[in-house]
Symmetry: C2
Subunit: 347 residues, 2 copies
């Protein structure tokens, strides 16, 4: 599908330029902390601004890598005219700073490596580094959106007329498009989105995005999925993933795992939208789970949920074992989680 036509199908937060864009020397990031209450962009004037924005969850899911590679463009434009060694050294430092913002997000880390390679190549060839990264981003992004569309069509094919669908957090473009395609195909669906505490991505991003596309959706709190399943209201469970190991462990937003246990208990299949498995992550032990600031658990949109002296614990992701995963929706098809190494392992 033509990029513009695809963008038309997408809700506000997922339209290409609303995720993140480079404009007049700055990076503008769609501020997902404020959506859907306000539709604002955060302007970042240097790499540190972008790094902090990613750490502060201004964007998440498929957003950080886009913001991060645009930050590399910004850094490259700033050092144009400097000796190549100095320029590349600055970019290497930028890459390190950006990679460290979300240790679990290996997709961002890989793309930053790619951006650095593009910079090194352009620099060696005497070409403008910033423009080279920018051209590479545009090609990469087009490919990513084609990939979203392909996987969304596979996902839509898994949906039956009348299905109740559970998701978690904000499964982004592939999932939202899959629901849109299922509707276009004449299937009636009803989506349940757990609110996804503490950042409420389900309530703030997933539900308004589906609502914008006229897809029936209801928010539930994170303690409800199993009960809704027990009522027979859920037929499929779909999420995205932050990373999948070569042996099929799915690392995603905290809560994904307990929904998967409940789905498994109720005989409901669980499908994961993901480009593929991470060749650097062979198994469960290789996953580094990010623990975030406990203070975030003691508040909800800035409103305290308890008193300050109470301790809290905030692991941001969890791990679902492969035997609970019915299929990984990739560019190679809907794969068994036990067959990922053959497709994505480094030979």
């Amino acid at each position: 599908m033509d990029p513009k036509a695809l963008d038309q199908l997408l809700p506000f937060v997922l339209k290409r330029d609303n995720v993140a864009r480079y404009e007049d020397g700055s990076v503008y990031i769609g501020d997902r902390r404020k959506y859907p209450f306000e539709k604002e962009f955060l302007r970042c004037d240097d790499v540190e601004d972008v790094a902090r924005a990613i750490e502060d969850m201004v964007t998440q899911g498929g957003g950080p890598w886009v913001a991060a590679v645009f930050a590399m463009v910004m850094a490259a434009k700033r050092v144009e005219g400097k000796p190549l060694d100095e320029a590349l050294d600055t970019l290497r430092k930028a890459k390190l700073r950006l990679t460290n913002t979300r240790p679990t997000n290996t997709a961002m880390a890989r793309r930053l490596d790619d951006a650095l390679r593009i910079a090194e190549k352009a620099g060696t060839e005497g070409l403008p580094i910033g423009q080279a990264i920018l051209n590479w981003i545009r090609r990469t992004r087009d490919k990513v959106y084609e990939n979203y569309e392909y996987r969304a069509r596979l996902g839509a094919g898994l949906v039956d007329d009348g299905d109740g669908i559970l998701t978690m957090c904000f499964a982004e473009t592939a999932f939202i498009l899959a629901m849109a395609f299922a509707r276009q195909d004449g299937k009636n669906i009803h989506v349940y989105t757990p609110e996804t505490r503490p950042y409420l991505q389900g309530a703030r991003l997933t539900a308004p995005s589906l609502h914008e596309l006229d897809i029936p959706v209801q928010i539930i709190t994170d303690n409800m999925p199993a009960y809704v399943m027990s009522q027979g209201k859920i037929q499929k469970y779909f999420t995205a993933a932050d990373l999948i190991t070569l042996d099929g462990h799915v690392c995603n937003k905290i809560g994904t795992f307990q929904n998967a246990i409940a789905a498994h208990h109720h005989g409901i299949p669980y499908f994961v939208f993901m480009w593929g498995a991470d060749p650097r992550s062979p198994d469960r032990a290789s996953i580094k789970i990010e623990n975030r600031d406990p203070a975030e658990i003691r508040a909800c949109r800035g409103m305290p949920t308890t008193i300050d002296e109470i301790d809290a614990y905030y692991p941001a992701f969890d791990i679902t074992p492969p035997y609970m995963v019915s299929g990984v929706i990739t560019m190679h098809g809907i794969l068994s989680p036990y067959d990922l190494k053959r497709h994505f392992g480094v030979a």
Copy 2:
């Protein structure tokens, strides 16, 4: 244990007079919506005030029945001197209004029936009805607290040194006392309390209550229990129940069920503190689950979590099947959920 000594052991919200009390013609209810931010009491001047307070979740768990029977005292005092038929008719209407506030709370319904019987007996014998109900409440409450203490000691016996303990919502006096007794017995414990959306009873009531007693406690969000279990941090799961059927189905705050599925998956035993099974509830089909206002899901302590036009779904309770329940901690001991009918079924 002497009532005053027991009260000393309890945290603020659970001390007898802080739950609800009758004073100078009014009922004062400890406002659990405001705790722990404010320690306030809501003054109710008639039955309708108390009914609305219960509907508005001013109190919950073990609180509603106390507030409701004190409301019967208030109603009875008002009709003193009227003809008996008229007085009892007023009390019957009061009972109906109060019973309808929380259809799932059959313990409150039974106590209101008892209060009405006390009123009828006193009225027939020409005794002051209000005082008769008040005397009955005092005896009943002493018995209830003795019962809490007995069950708490049984619960404390299930705790091993070094245990990580998961709970849900606010399991009230028996659970909190069990943790206090386990500590008194020299056992090191660490409690994880899911915040329990949308009303945050875990964050607002359970965690501050345990913290007040110097018991190590951490709040987690409702999407975390399974992951915390998978880390080996949880050895026991304890909750209270709103009702247990004669065939062992546990109806409790939404989320209890999915934690029980996760506990079962991880081989963690699940124990329920409850006076016993409800003889009026033979099986799962006899449970009426209360659906509450979806608007409550779209906010957290009054702060919107999404935009108004998004639909939400709010079942307030869920049902855990008996095969996931390791024991029901009652006055008859730690019973198998499959042996409740023999103890609590009407002959």
